[in-house]
């Protein structure tokens, strides 16, 4: 067994060495992403998005005449594994640039590896505000929208639709649940909404009816929730059962209602609205071409992860061409303030905290499908720069 493993490892290493020798003049981008485990579905979208953009760029002559080569490592959505794989990509595979981290903890940890290796990392998935906030790093960029941009967009829409709305909050009782509720609460109160109360139910609760008395007594116009997966199915359908959905607007986090649970929720999901950075419906020629090419290549619709990963390759291309080099310091300078075109429209990387600004969308479930009902400009959604490290 041990011998087999050693031989396999040797074979793997020699294969890597071989490809390095063969492709000496390519630009190597490391992809440290979960290809197995809970987040394998996200890793799959990341891979599809990166590969489609790479194929397009390479077909048109690459970046400054050099072809892009993607080198994958499976991070298993585990920050410890992601760190090891990042070190391997920098030290053994000698990648010029790193991306693919999904879990916010992994992005923060791998960011420190990138600082030590004096290379750049860009995440296309992680939501946690701290990555481009108090834990920002000069070597880390984020091209996707952070959690704060989603809640700001949703709150702006709410303020317009129902000024001074009375809002009740229900979240799952753990870090993500509490942080999403407090982020939306802050954003909504800032634009005039009134908070009536909040309740945190254990993750995976069977029956939410025990909280309905509290909700009924508070008489909210809006319920914001950040439950996800099957918890959403139970919460929404039980609310429907108890007649609580009448005259109530349901809002939630972007993971609350997804393609995985929308069918099971059925009619109870009608009218649910959330803030997102991407929808296949976005009406511009870049997006239409992108969706068609993505579907043709992968037999699946792109989601926000696939789209943001696709956009990253073009950001890196633009930055390298502007810097006329793949040198870390020169590319960093070029990325700061960079504006480039993506399926979501033009994005600009804010120099102060390395966070991409983009138009945010509010989508609502109409006849079982998400439809775009509102847009919020990048400047309005991004919020203040809280990064103090550079």
């Amino acid at each position: 067994m041990k011998t087999t493993r050693t031989i396999l490892l040797a074979a793997l290493l020699s294969a890597t060495a071989l490809s390095t020798a063969y492709a000496a003049d390519t630009i190597k981008i490391g992809v440290d992403t979960p290809l197995s485990g809970t987040y394998a579905g996200i890793g799959q979208q990341v891979k599809w998005g990166l590969e489609l953009a790479t194929k397009e760029v390479n077909a048109k002559g690459g970046i400054m005449g050099r072809q892009i080569e993607l080198i994958y490592e499976d991070s298993e959505a585990n920050p410890a594994v992601a760190v090891q794989k990042a070190e391997k990509l920098f030290e053994v595979s000698k990648v010029d640039f790193l991306t693919g981290t999904v879990n916010s903890g992994a992005t923060l940890a791998v960011g420190q590896v990138a600082e030590r290796a004096k290379k750049l990392l860009a995440t296309t998935v992680s939501f946690a505000d701290s990555i481009t906030g108090e834990k920002c790093s000069p070597n880390v960029f984020r091209v996707n929208a952070k959690a704060g941009q989603q809640s700001t967009a949703l709150a702006a829409w709410l303020a317009k639709e129902k000024p001074k709305a009375k809002v009740f909050f229900l979240g799952p009782d753990y870090l993500m649940g509490r942080s999403t509720v407090s982020a939306f609460k802050e954003a909504a109160e800032k634009v005039g909404a009134k908070s009536l109360g909040e309740v945190y139910a254990p993750l995976g609760s069977k029956d939410y009816s025990q909280y309905f008395g509290q909700i009924r007594a508070a008489q909210p116009q809006v319920l914001y929730t950040s439950v996800a997966g099957n918890d959403t199915v139970r919460l929404f359908t039980q609310m429907q059962e108890f007649g609580l959905l009448k005259n109530l607007t349901l809002l939630g986090a972007s993971g609350t209602v997804t393609s995985q649970n929308i069918a099971a929720i059925g009619k109870a999901a009608e009218g649910f609205a959330t803030g997102v950075g991407y929808s296949t419906e976005i009406d511009n020629p870049v997006n239409k071409a992108f969706v068609a090419a993505f579907k043709a290549a992968n037999k699946a619709d792109p989601d926000l992860y696939g789209t943001d990963s696709y956009g990253l390759i073009y950001a890196y291309k633009a930055a390298v061409e502007k810097a006329k080099s793949t040198d870390t310091d020169k590319v960093r300078t070029a990325l700061r303030g960079l504006t480039w075109s993506t399926p979501q429209g033009e994005k600009t990387i804010r120099a102060g905290d390395h966070q991409a600004m983009q138009t945010m969308y509010v989508v609502q479930v109409t006849n079982g499908q998400f439809k775009i009902i509102s847009k919020v400009s990048g400047e309005d959604a991004i919020g203040p720069d809280t990064c103090t490290r550079f």
Binding site: D173, P202, S209, Q210, A217, V233, Q260, N261, A264
Partner: protein, 297 residues
Amino acid sequence: MSEAVQYFQFVLAPQMLIGLVLGVAVILVALGLTIIFGLLDVINMSHGEFYALGAFFALALAQIGLPFWLLLLLVPLLMLPVGYIVERALIQRVFHSGDRHVRTLLLTFGLGLVMEDSYRLVFGPNPYRPETPITGGVEIFDIFLPSYRLFLIIVGAAIIAAVAFIVYRTRLGAMVRAAAFDRDMAASLGVPVQHVYAGAFAFGVALAGLAGVLLAPIYSVFPTMGRDFILMAFTVVIVGGMGSIAGVVVAGLLLSQIQAIVALYISPVWSDPVVFGIMVVMLMVRPQGLFGRLGHG
């Protein structure tokens, strides 16, 4: 005074009513568990997965167009042969060994894992939800209750009464109790003990399946749903007295009421620890539970 009445009417009573629904649901799952334990002396760790099997049977049959009301009858009937075969083919193999408890526990635990993964393979990881067969609601003393939940309380009570009647008032029940009390004596008096054992297991499993059909519209259907009620059901069986039907009913109602009322005053996250704490105290003070075992007067 009127404040206390209002508090009762608008806060306490609705909460207790909701607790009653949950109590009936837990009792339905725990009934089969306690019968299997009381008679066979087997702790069925896969009971939650049989509960899920009932729900998945209902899901599959509903897809070919059968109405919900027929499924209430059909699914338990389908569960009977499944339970019978599992008992004869698997449990009997390790039943007569020295450490019966450990072996049957491991066997049923493993069976539960296999079943759960099979659901994932066949139906995928995503949740499903059958439409609630009765929509709308009723007001009882100004307290709103969805009609389907009222239906659940009534049907649940009827099932509990029927089970108690079969076990305590029929010839079949007498045979079951006799086999539980003294296997060898019952056998020598002509009770077909092997069939009684397999039959009782099948009956317990069919009850779990019936609970699966009844609860699917409220709690939805997904591969790991078996874990939902099983801890609470085990607690109810332990507190009520392992193998006692009356014990399951009393403990089920008591614990679900405690859980519902406790949730009003402390964070709902603590309602499970409170219930398990009661179980631990019960095991320390009165390990036989509130009531005695099946067939042991």
